[in-house]
């Protein structure tokens, strides 16, 4: 009963907000709608509305999926510094990492569904009901770890927030092992996703043992980069509290991860170019272009340059602790890894195709639409969860305070204070 109240009141908390909040929500809803209509087109006409074809049979959807697996995996890695350095009571930092992880995993799953030719047949993949090809298909592993990761994080977040909400001390002996379990699982989702590509001898570009560690290293950059920026935004516009030192520590860790990422990328480039086997062609397509096909070169190099720049920005203490340079670094890392995973991982593996034929892939509008819709849905979920979490953790919303809060009150608040009310005014006023 209390739990239903919790859910109901969470929705109420979510709906509290001023003009800018609703602008943001409408913006997201519009994008979602745009994506949904795009997806309906895709369902009725088939994946022919995308630019994917037999030669390049995976594209933007799978690229985004991979990038988001990285974000999901890495955001939980905040647990480690948060836990080790004990900046804040653990729940307060961990929860936000987990919320990002939940949103990312949901986006991952949506990207997979968007990429399926027959999405209604998803149940074929379920154990017992369908004929899941376990353990031989890595895709089934991926589905399993992603879903476990999703449910684990969903459980931890709900459990922690719910207990804070009903003003009960949470049971550490339940939460701690789960949080600790989520760490290897975070590594697990990324490892398994890397194995998905890595395990295909047909695709020389992927079939390199370095792919998996590189995945992890780049994830440790991209996930925290997203959080660095989101946390600053949250700190500015909500009552979310976090110390500066947290950012600086995260940035330092990111510098090391980025170094590792660049080092592994360099090793791969050396090996391919120096040994100059027939496998080199995919790297050539990515980094130098082949004849007139040089579509990815600019992306590949900007990814590397941004990565190097961000590495130095985060390595040097002076630029690391300056929020301007810190943010530039975070954006660089985000872009660097997004390009590396979203573009540089999938497309070169298929260009040229296994029979040496070139089909130049650039995502179609339909793909961009669906992707925009999925990202917006992810942001909407994130906004919802973050708002509830902030209210409960930092604004001391709880069952007593909220029981009397009605929808009418919520909207009254908007009418009374159109100029983006500070959340405090709702709770303390």
């Amino acid at each position: 009963m209390k739990f239903i109240k919790f859910i109901l009141l969470s929705i109420k908390i979510f709906l509290r907000g001023g003009k800018y909040f609703y602008l943001w929500i409408s913006f997201l809803l519009l994008l979602i709608l745009w994506g949904v209509t795009g997806y309906i087109n895709q369902i009725s006409d088939g994946l022919i509305v995308t630019s994917m074809r037999d030669s390049v049979s995976w594209g933007f959807y799978i690229g985004n999926f991979t990038f988001l697996v990285g974000v999901a995996a890495a955001s939980i890695m905040l647990v480690i510094p948060a836990y080790i350095y004990e900046w804040k009571p653990i729940k307060e930092v961990v929860i936000f990492g987990e919320i990002l992880a939940i949103s990312s995993v949901i986006m991952c799953l949506l990207f997979i569904i968007a990429d399926m030719g027959q999405p209604l047949r998803f149940w074929h993949m379920l154990p017992i009901l369908g004929t899941m090809n376990f353990p031989s298909s890595i895709l089934t592993w991926d589905a399993m770890v992603l879903n476990s990761y999703l449910f684990l994080n969903l459980f931890i977040v709900t459990y922690l927030l719910y207990h804070a909400f009903i003003k009960k001390e949470y049971n550490k002996s339940i939460v701690m092992p789960l949080i600790l379990l989520s760490i290897p699982l975070a590594v697990g989702i990324h490892t398994v996703t890397a194995f998905l590509y890595n395990g295909m001898p047909a695709r020389h570009y992927w079939n390199s043992a370095i792919l998996t560690p590189k995945f992890i290293a780049s994830a440790f950059c991209s996930g925290p980069a997203v959080m660095l920026i989101l946390f600053q935004i949250l700190r500015k516009i909500t009552s979310f509290q976090i110390k500066d030192e947290v950012f600086w520590k995260i940035a330092e860790l990111m510098a090391y991860a980025m170094f590792l990422n660049l080092f592994l990328t360099g090793s791969e480039i050396f090996k391919e170019y120096y040994s100059d086997t027939e496998h080199l062609i995919y790297h050539k397509y990515l980094y130098t272009g082949i004849g007139k096909h040089n579509d990815l070169v600019i992306y590949a190099w900007s990814s590397i340059i941004m990565g190097i720049a961000a590495f130095f920005l985060f390595l040097i203490p002076k630029t690391r602790t300056n929020f301007l340079t810190l943010n530039i670094g975070a954006v660089f890392i985000y872009l660097s890894v997004y390009v590396e995973k979203g573009i540089g991982l999938i497309i070169p593996a298929f260009t040229p195709d296994v029979l040496g034929q070139f089909y130049i892939y650039t995502p179609s509008w339909a793909e961009l639409r669906v992707a925009a819709g999925i990202f917006s849905l992810g942001f909407l979920l994130f906004t919802f969860m973050v708002k509830v979490a902030i209210a409960i953790i930092f604004e001391d919303f709880n069952i007593d305070k909220l029981s009397s809060l009605t929808f009418r009150d919520i909207f009254k608040n908007i009418i009374d204070d159109k100029s983006a009310p500070k959340p405090e005014s709702a709770s303390r006023g």
Binding site: I48, R53, D54, S55, Y359, I360
Partner: protein, 179 residues
């Protein structure tokens, strides 16, 4: 002496190919599930591809004197282009002078046009061996039963045996244009 005219097997190579292709199309028509036929049985897909009205050769040749002189044919069979080791051979190396309805082997033994492959095989031994196994040339029909074969001359004009180039069928649509 009978007048010598070469008994002719002149078939345009394109006709040859046409037969090959139409034969292939016809082979699709009947489909008997799991047909158990006498294994190894093989039948010719069609009789030797003579030009219309040319066989039997004896119709003209019987009674003609045989001219054993190597020469260019100008009166009859002038359409034959002979590019098959032409420096060393000519008509009567293969065609029997005694009975124009037959070919003859080096040994002098007569073989019918249905068995012309035996003649070809005298020089092209390994090809004949491959052909007999169904590896050179074409087999159609049942992989586990009755097979149809083509004679050498169905695909190779015996007088100029090189396989003529073909017009290719259209290339696939470029993937950029699949919409």
């Amino acid at each position: 002496m009978k007048k010598i005219i070469l008994p002719v097997l002149f078939i345009l190579t394109m006709t040859c190919i046409g037969i090959c292709l139409s034969a292939a199309d016809k082979a699709v028509e009947k489909r008997i599930p799991n047909k158990k036929t006498e294994k190894g049985r093989e039948i010719a897909i069609s009789p030797p591809p003579f030009s219309a009205g040319i066989f039997p050769c004896t119709e003209c040749h019987s009674g003609m004197p045989v001219n054993y002189n190597r020469r260019a044919l100008t009166e009859e069979h002038a359409n034959i282009v002979f590019t098959h080791d032409e420096k060393n051979r000519w008509c009567l190396d293969c065609h029997s002078a005694g009975n124009r309805d037959f070919l003859h082997l080096a040994s002098g033994r007569l073989v019918s046009f249905q068995e012309s492959y035996k003649l070809c095989g005298q020089c092209h031994g390994p090809k004949l061996r491959d052909w007999e196994k169904g590896v050179h040339g074409k087999r159609s029909g049942y992989w586990n039963g009755e097979k149809k074969y083509l004679l050498c001359v169905h695909c190779h004009n015996p007088h100029s045996p090189a396989f003529n180039p073909l017009q290719p069928m259209p290339p696939p649509v470029r993937q950029e244009n699949i919409r």
